[in-house]
């Protein structure tokens, strides 16, 4: 059949294409233009944590070591008030088959695709997720197509993404290296129409359920070793899957008191779809350019309802600078003997300032690391930044300007975790959700949904609606 492949026509077939490529009908979970049955969606795959663990064990995903970072803890204590400086642990997710926690995210979706009889999987990602999908597809004998936003219009690509192209191809995937633009989604729809493959979106329920084992595992590891659950878990936040899956896993393990903190690299001011800004950032994920919109507009993604809903789970959200992440990447190698990729150390950067707030006997867990390779290193990323007109220097990280200046701290005590006002984020979320429902008046059930979905309260949602002069259904 010869179908029209023009941009507007392919995009107009979005709903049909996505439904065919997921074997999942989202409409059954709709409650109103605002509310939907989130837990119903999450349970739709029918996998329990122990079943997911069993599936992941088959391909060597998970069961990663929990390592106490004693020297970094000592460093944090040397700059803390007396009695302060929590013990810092890291979950060494680099030990997963393709080198990051993204194997968890990919494993269940690819298993699910194989079970449903799909011939292959498609994923749009410039991050570690591509390699994870390709690796899992190899294990299950499925074909993988990975779509990556790699180049600006000069065909200059970030070393980190070029490394991921290499990794995906090493696992046998067909990789489309694309220029900057949201049309990545158009290409994905086009390829789904051509191939009939499964869309291994980052935001489907199986992608998030696959990550639940991470939170579950780390809670159990801490409990077994220390006789208690962790006091705080630090999670790099971008699209929301890492926070959502980990937090859900912590809850399922019974670790209800753990403070869930999201951390993103501060890239405020850089436009994510800009050809010009594209190569002025050193971080391609776990940054505010994804972090903010995915909190305030979780459903603006490639699936009808996003299973990654970080705002439901975050107790706190902090920003760190690129220079601070490069600095702690050095600390991890030089003090702890763990040479790991910088992007995976985003939440580690926040660990030092946050450990200073906690007592010495408290436990803080940084829940990931990632593999490192050519391109995924502070040295290659800083060299690239300089080649693209970014100033690199040592000094006070407060002088960091995203896209212009990267400041490597001179001392550990200069590292700050800037608190993001989550109430403001919640207000934006409520505003966006109501606007997206186009003229629909929220009901009591919608207000309850928004309170849950933003981890606020019914009173908070009511007040926000009043402040925004939004009428509520009688």
């Amino acid at each position: 059949m010869n179908r029209d492949v023009s941009y507007s026509l392919v995009m107009s077939r979005k709903k049909e294409s996505m439904k065919n490529s997921m074997g999942l009908n989202y409409q059954q979970f709709d409650i109103s233009p605002i509310a939907f049955d989130y837990e119903g969606l999450m349970n739709s795959g029918g996998y329990s944590v122990s079943e997911v663990q069993k599936i992941q064990l088959e391909t060597g995903v998970g069961n990663t070591p929990l390592v106490e970072l004693k020297n970094i803890t000592e460093l944090a204590r040397s700059i803390s008030a007396p009695g302060k400086g929590a013990r810092i642990f890291v979950k060494d997710e680099k030990a997963c088959p393709s080198g990051s926690f993204k194997d968890r995210r990919a494993s269940l979706s690819v298993y699910h695709a194989a079970r449903l009889g799909y011939e292959g999987v498609v994923a749009a990602t410039s991050g570690n997720y591509g390699a994870a999908v390709a690796s899992q597809a190899a294990k299950y004998g499925l074909k993988a197509i990975i779509l990556q936003e790699v180049y600006d219009s000069r065909k200059v690509g970030q070393p980190e993404i070029l490394e991921k192209t290499r990794a995906c191809e090493a696992y046998g995937a067909e990789v489309w290296q694309l220029t900057v633009g949201p049309e990545l989604f158009y290409i994905m729809l086009l390829i789904l129409e051509e191939t009939g493959f499964f869309t291994a979106s980052l935001y489907i329920p199986t992608a998030i359920m696959g990550i639940e084992t991470l939170g579950y595992e780390l809670a159990q590891q801490v409990k077994e070793r220390e006789g208690r659950f962790p006091d705080m878990v630090l999670i790099a936040h971008a699209g929301g899957g890492n926070v959502t899956g980990t937090a859900r896993g912590l809850q399922k393990a019974g670790s209800h008191e753990t403070v869930v903190v999201g951390a993103s690299v501060d890239l405020r001011g850089l436009h994510m779809a800009s050809d010009h800004d594209f190569n002025r950032k050193s971080f391609t994920t776990a940054h505010s350019g994804f972090g903010f919109p995915f909190l305030t507009m979780p459903d603006r993604t490639d699936v009808p309802r996003n299973a990654a809903r970080a705002l439901r789970y975050l107790d706190r959200y902090v920003l760190v600078s690129q220079g601070e992440v490069f600095y702690v990447t050095e600390l991890l190698a030089k003090l702890e003997g763990l040479e790991r990729g910088p992007a995976g150390n985003t939440s580690l950067a926040a660990a030092i300032p946050l450990a200073k707030e906690l007592d010495r006997d408290q436990i803080l867990v940084v829940q990931e690391t990632e593999y490192t390779a050519a391109g995924k290193l502070p040295s290659s990323q800083l060299t690239f930044a300089e080649e693209n007109g970014v100033i690199v220097k040592r000094g006070d990280p407060g002088e960091n300007v995203p896209g212009k200046v990267i400041v490597i701290p001179e001392r550990a005590e200069q590292i700050q975790a800037e608190n993001v006002n989550l109430d403001k984020i919640r207000q934006s979320y409520i505003k966006n959700v109501v606007e997206a429902a186009k003229g629909y008046r929220p009901t009591e059930a919608d207000i309850r949904f928004m309170a849950e979905d933003s981890k606020s309260s019914i009173e908070f949602v009511r007040k926000t609606l009043r402040d925004l002069a939004i009428e509520v259904a009688a």
């Binding site: 023009s6 941009y7 020297n71 000592e74 460093l75 204590r77 040397s78 700059i79 074909k143 993988a144 790699v150 180049y151 219009s153 065909k155 200059v156 070393p159 070029l162 490394e163 192209t165 290499r166 046998g172 995937a173 067909e174 990789v175 489309w176 290296q177 694309l178 220029t179 633009g181 949201p182 049309e183 158009y186 290409i187 779809a273 800009s274 050809d275 010009h276 800004d277 490069f326 600095y327 050095e330 600390l331 030089k334 003090l335 050519a374 391109g375 290193l377 502070p378 040295s379 290659s380 990323q381 800083l382 060299t383 690239f384 690199v392 040592r394 490597i408 001392r411 550990a412 005590e413």
Partner: protein, 115 residues
């Protein structure tokens, strides 16, 4: 931008060679509205690798390839035997001493540093 091998870039390929093709997916006019100016001004492009299906071709020809998963695609041949040229970067003065600095600091355990 592209690196070459020692003898300069290879210009011709024969059937079965690994090649990279280029495709313009959307011209600037075909791109959607609402993009940043610098993005809207340029085409939306793709590069894909695979094995040449044509008997013989040179850089600039329109060719067919078989991708790593066995799909057939066509596009303009841009590189023969494309290499991965991302690397470890240059040594960075900003990073090199961090390890030594913090080790000194830990030795003065408990005392904040006031350098």
């Amino acid at each position: 931008m592209r690196k070459t091998n020692k003898k300069g870039p290879i210009q011709t390929a024969t059937k079965g060679d690994l090649v990279q093709i280029h495709k313009v997916i959307l011209t600037p006019e075909q791109r959607p509205e609402g993009l940043p100016e610098s993005t809207k001004a340029v085409p939306y492009e793709a590069w894909i690798k695979g094995f040449l299906l044509d008997e013989k071709a040179k850089v600039g020809d329109t060719v067919r390839i078989e991708t790593f998963i066995g799909r057939e695609l066509s596009g303009t041949l841009v590189e023969v035997n494309p290499i991965y040229d991302h690397n470890f970067g240059k040594p960075r003065q900003e990073l090199l001493r961090i390890g030594m600095e913090v080790k000194k600091q830990i030795k003065r355990e408990g005392k904040p540093s006031h350098e």
